[in-house]
Point group: C2
Amino acid sequence: MLLTLTEPADVQMRLDYFETRCKELGLRVTRQRQEIFRAVAQSDKHPSAESVFMQVRENMPNLSLDTVYRTLASLEDMGLLMRVGLSSKARFDGDLRPHCHFVCTQCGEVYDIFPQENEQIACPLPVRNIGEIKQVNIQFKGICKNCMPH
Amino acid sequence: MLLTLTEPADVQMRLDYFETRCKELGLRVTRQRQEIFRAVAQSDKHPSAESVFMQVRENMPNLSLDTVYRTLASLEDMGLLMRVGLSSKARFDGDLRPHCHFVCTQCGEVYDIFPQENEQIACPLPVRNIGEIKQVNIQFKGICKNCMPH
DNA sequence: TCTTTATTAGGAAAGATTACGAATATGCTT
DNA sequence: AAGCATATTCGTAATCTTTCCTAATAAAGA
């Protein structure tokens, strides 16, 4: 299968936006942040922290793994990249009726969301070209009412 | 908020189905498996491995954590429960256009799925009652074509 | 250039999950 | 009911992923 690589121009635009965003938020534009963001922005491979670390390290041998984790988390907070999946701790659900989950990023609580009668969850997308689906997982992330500053 | 607890009768039905399923697959119905499955089946709290461990341990002080992890994984394979979220390793995506992911449970590869022009991803569900949504995550799990026994 | 202070490197610690060998108990057979 | 074969479990150690801590570093404004 052919994967379309992100255009360099596009990456440059994103890097520019990254700098803008940093300045907006009063965050320093360090070389580490730039390179780490670039590594994710120009990849189609959904890299792990470890693989970002390996790649950026080629040009920055002193980069620490902690910095990668810290930076990826802050880039996520800044809305510059998204984390695929959830937190590092597995949670289980014995209820197999089709439903979604709302995960509170503050307290970690997981809420069930059952679709209304007339609502369809299933998204009939061109997934079948990729493989055989065994399971669908729809998650919302946000702040739950308990954690909201009333 | 009031959470409806799963009916006991329902749990008993699930336990029966659990036994049937074990026998179908030639797996032994051990007390550990029963109790671990029961703990998840009768909970609305999306428990973690650790909390299942703690709970079942009250009546089985010798239960080992390894057994909990092993059993939860096999129950997932058997289709008796689902794992909320993904694997233990975080993956990141710099592409913020709305799209879904297909995760191959065999090789771990993550594929992007972009919706067609006329397709809507967003599911307008009663999520707003729970909190403020920051992000939506739609994942498909299955076996990708590369890993399928052609 | 100088100063302030956010950020990083490096290693150690914590947290979550898995691996391993000896002991146990299930399901089958008699 | 007893015995057997072997899948499963226990207990602990090891691994893997992520986070914490402190001195050193470097970005941004004066």
